[in-house]
Amino acid sequence: MSKTFPMGGIHPPDTKISAAAPITPLAIPAEVVIPLGQHIGAPAEAIVKAGDKVKAGQLIAETAGFISANIHSSVSGTVKKIDDVADPCGYSKKAVYITVEGDEWAEGIDRSSTLKKEITLDREAIVEKIKAGGIVGMGGASFPTNVKYMIPEGKTADTLVINGVECEPYLTADHRLMLEYADEMLVGVEILRVALGVEKAVIGIEENKPDAIKLLTEKSAEYAGITVESLHMQYPQGAEKQLIKACTGREVPSGKLPIEVGCAVNNVGTAYAVYQMVQKNQPLVERVVTVTGKQVSKPSNFLVRIGTSYAACIEAAGGLPEDTGKVISGGPMMGMAVADLSIPVAKGTSGILMLPKAESVRPEVEHCIRCGACVSVCPMGLEPYLLEKFARADKWDQAEQRAATDCMECGCCSYACPSGRPLLDYIRIAKGEINNRRRARASQ
């Protein structure tokens, strides 16, 4: 029997309708909007101004703080302005607007498809390069990758875990990447393994992608340190702690990072981006985006330049179906409904999902019948029903005591609730409030 994480979790229908669609480059739009805050942490600071000429791959904004990431232009052209743009959440963030002129790349960037295998750099140089390339976690959280590889003193890593799980329904970007860029991705894994200074790297892939498991098992044979782990399908296996548990059997304690148990986790998309930067000098300026939906005429996987609008992606996939109820940025479980299709694709945009009206309606909220479904599906072993109650009654201390901050917002509880209660919505409120109070306590 294949491995998985032991507690909680759900089995939503996987609906990977775009799994057979090969990755195709999306046409470069006439204008891109590159947000300065595409990652967790401080937004980058722009170093260009209106009227500047930029080339694709050129640095346009620099890190601002320890947890931050560089931003590069994804196109060549002229900076039109630096102005606000809405993020998928709806709030305004600063962004660089660039009018596209041709497709000229900055010097030193190798756009050829020749595979470059030998790794010439050492650990520090690789981490420095990852930082320079503005590479962030491509799975969705967008945590700056280089920070993960600065191992705190007293801790040692021994295993690199690569996330090829893609447990979110609908999304196929990572799946296609593993199939079509397997060699590049494996070199990327090898680079990350060197950067972490470990012997062992495990690529975890769920069983619903047998072709990827087969291909990577074959290809990884030539790398001594890399193994492929076939995992039993279960959501949320792509969550860091659950993936480490499934692949290595280790449990990351509450409030701690994976390094606590000697692991680091990166997505397959990140490994590919690392390959592009370290071997080919190409910073993170494009990514694979799944554009899908049951009524979408051409469910696709596009290689999209960062800053391309959602509308352009949707248009290329055959346009917005008439019956669309919600457009979701990301997957259906953890993604976010967007209100404005002019917003740009960012480094963390793994998919654009169009849900028909009938499927996007929230269920009527009824009384909690204490069935315990939320408790048994919670992969962190929390009590979502109680946390919701506490959040509704402003009882933040009790919510904190019951470990609300352990919640990773996978949404299993809301999915499983037979009464349609908005459990996760309220747990988010509790988490925010608890973090505010912790900050207030710390500053006292």
Partner: protein, 306 residues
């Protein structure tokens, strides 16, 4: 909740087969009184939308009727239904808020108020429909008379399994209850732990006494099949609202209810103890919920820290 009603169909069929058309009348009155009470309270006292269509009042009515003898006057059933829903459920705020299983509240009320009619057991029609004691009633004084003396009066295990014995409407046929229970587990509506640990602990408890003094006590299999143990374990102790939320909590709840059932049966004044055992454990659910928490992710590390 409608799924629970579907799961009760085998027991429903069994009760009508064994106890005849009057069983149908008792069931109808039980369901009607529960549904009407809930609708009346919601519409006229709370002035809120009526939610009887969720099927939970129907389940309560069915379970209540399953827990009473067929010979009972119908007006008593109606009173029981009123108490079950009015006091057992709506007084606490309706669905999801009641601490006690409403059907058992109704039954407990009827047992104390109408003691004689509530113990006027009939043997199933397939026998002769005459008045007769339940298996548990027969062994009530086994400690003094000795099991061998009453062995001839006791029904065989096969009769007890299919339900060819005296007792309440729905509790007699272990087979019918098992069918419904398996349906509920297959649909993921109940946790298998509750009935397994309930019946397991009851069997273990009675088994110890039987092992020590087989002449004074009935064997564990008898206790599992007799009285309301099957109905209680599969349909009453598994009630979502009145059982704990976490898996470990449900195990504690089920073991507690099983042991209490054994204690009441062997040492209490009543021959059967399932309903009171479950009611007592219902009262302990808040305590169980606050002390027996689900296993957290990386629980081991939490203990190390503490």
């Amino acid at each position: 909740m409608w799924a629970v009603s579907i799961a009760l169909i085998p027991a429903f069929v069994a009760s009508v087969t064994f106890f005849g058309p009057r069983a149908l009348a008792v069931l109808a009155v039980g369901v009607l009184s529960c549904v009407l009470t809930e609708a009346f309270i919601q519409a006229f006292m709370l002035k809120k939308p009526v939610s009887v269509s969720d099927g939970s009042a129907v389940v309560t009515g069915l379970l209540l009727a399953f827990n009473i003898p067929v010979s009972i006057p119908l007006w008593m059933v109606a009173v029981g239904g009123f108490v079950a829903i009015g006091i057992g459920k709506m007084a606490f705020g309706g669905i999801g808020n009641n601490p006690f299983n409403p059907a058992l509240v109704g039954r407990a009320f009827m047992t104390t108020s109408f003691a004689a009619p509530m113990t006027n057991w009939r043997l199933p029609l397939v026998f002769d429909g005459s008045t007769g004691a339940t298996p548990l009633g027969i062994i009530e004084n086994a400690a003094s008379t000795g099991m061998s003396a009453i062995q001839s009066e006791l029904p065989g295990y096969f009769d007890m399994f299919i339900g060819n014995i005296g007792g309440s409407l729905g509790e007699t046929s272990a087979l019918a209850i098992l069918l419904g229970g398996i349906f509920l587990i297959a649909r993921g509506l109940i946790d298998w732990r509750t009935p397994v640990f309930f019946l397991g602990s009851l069997a273990a408890f009675t088994g110890i006494f039987w092992g020590i003094a087989p002449e004074s006590y009935a064997d564990p299999l008898f206790h599992v099949l007799a009285g309301g143990a099957m109905l209680g374990a599969w349909f009453m102790a598994t009630d979502m609202t009145t059982s704990p939320m976490s898996r470990n909590g449900r195990i504690v709840f089920a073991v507690g209810a099983g042991l209490l059932t054994g204690v009441i049966r062997l040492f209490g004044a009543f021959p059967g103890g399932v309903s009171y055992a479950i009611l007592i454990m219902n009262a302990l659910v808040p305590a169980i919920d606050s002390h027996i928490r689900p296993k957290r992710f990386a629980q081991g590390a939490l203990h190390e820290k503490a």
